[in-house]
Symmetry: C2
Subunit: 167 residues, 2 copies
DNA sequence: GACCTTTTCTTGAAAGTTGAACTAGATAGA
DNA sequence: TCTATCTAGTTCAACTTTCAAGAAAAGGTC
């Protein structure tokens, strides 16, 4: 169905199927968990929160739109809408980029930073409770390795390197 | 911020932060990957595909709406919309439940089953390529255990057992 | 400079999701 | 039976995401 596979499809083994189901199950519940927690405590979905975190860690608490989109792994279009919303909420401000007149910088406002400071403990708590408090140090290390491998494999990386990093 | 935490927030260690970033990164890319693959090859998002798979494995290729929602970990509302869409596409049909006049059964149509049969190999391929072909058997086993633990921890389970499984 | 291509970001419409409100049928107690 | 409550599923409005254009500036190349 994809490329160049002529023979029998290589179905998943019983164990693989079970792991795959567990993966889907866990990641779905986790995403719901975080979305609900942040919607409740910060009034925004998880992905928006992630954008603010990115900004808070950037040099002058600001980033070019494209760079932010790239780091957050979302399309520019989606980011445009998201920043518009965050701007309406007062957490982010747009500024023209001095060096490139096409460019925009998304800047975390003081209110945004303050909101982040307030909600960070609760968020860390939720993450801990859902994941790190339940895993052995051994498992945490292993999970890290596995996720690195998977992420690397899915990265648009390498050969067609000049693609816009996503589709 | 959540309940009953009086002291200092327990921030994540450097390793935990790095694992958490890798987790978010990998799961985001994976979801995008599958959504794109299935949108292309089956004309629907990953979650809709999952609904059809559930139906295909159910006794008479049908399930009560609530049960389907529960198994797929989505709200009834979302399922209503999803089934309406799948009905329009011809993959699913609704039938009144004989034993409970409030109830509806979502039934996988022959066309739906056929579509599933056609797109399954490509989907398995995508999953393999993204995950199983990159991990050692050791890692696969470990991932399974970890995801089990995380999922179990997030399950609405236990104490408030009569909650509608989600919020 | 004139021309073409690329990059940056936005927009608008369609599709999907959410949470609350709502209808109809089931259930249980007096 | 009458009433209150619960459950199944849908619907609406607000919001988010996607996809396909599109406007504006930047970067070649001649």
């Amino acid at each position: 169905m994809t490329t160049a596979s002529t023979g029998e499809p290589r179905w998943l083994s019983d164990e693989e199927q079970s792991v795959w189901r567990a993966y889907l199950h866990a990641t779905t519940l986790m995403e719901d968990h975080l979305d609900r927690q942040l919607q409740r405590d910060a009034g925004m979905p998880h992905i928006y929160y992630g954008l603010l975190v990115q900004l808070s860690q950037a040099p002058r608490r600001q980033k070019r739109m494209t760079e932010l989109a790239k780091d957050a792994k979302i399309t520019r279009s989606r980011l445009s809408h998201a920043v518009a919303r965050l701007e309406r909420s007062g957490w982010v401000r747009r500024e023209d980029c001095p060096s490139d007149k096409r460019g925009q910088n998304a800047v975390l406002t003081d209110e945004g930073f303050e909101m982040l400071r307030r909600s960070a403990p609760g968020h860390v708590d939720a993450v801990r409770q859902a994941m790190f408090d339940r895993l052995t140090p051994e498992q945490v290390r292993s999970l890290g390795e596995i996720m690195q491998v998977v992420a690397a494999g899915l990265q648009p990386e390498g050969t067609d390197a000049d693609l816009p990093w996503l589709r």
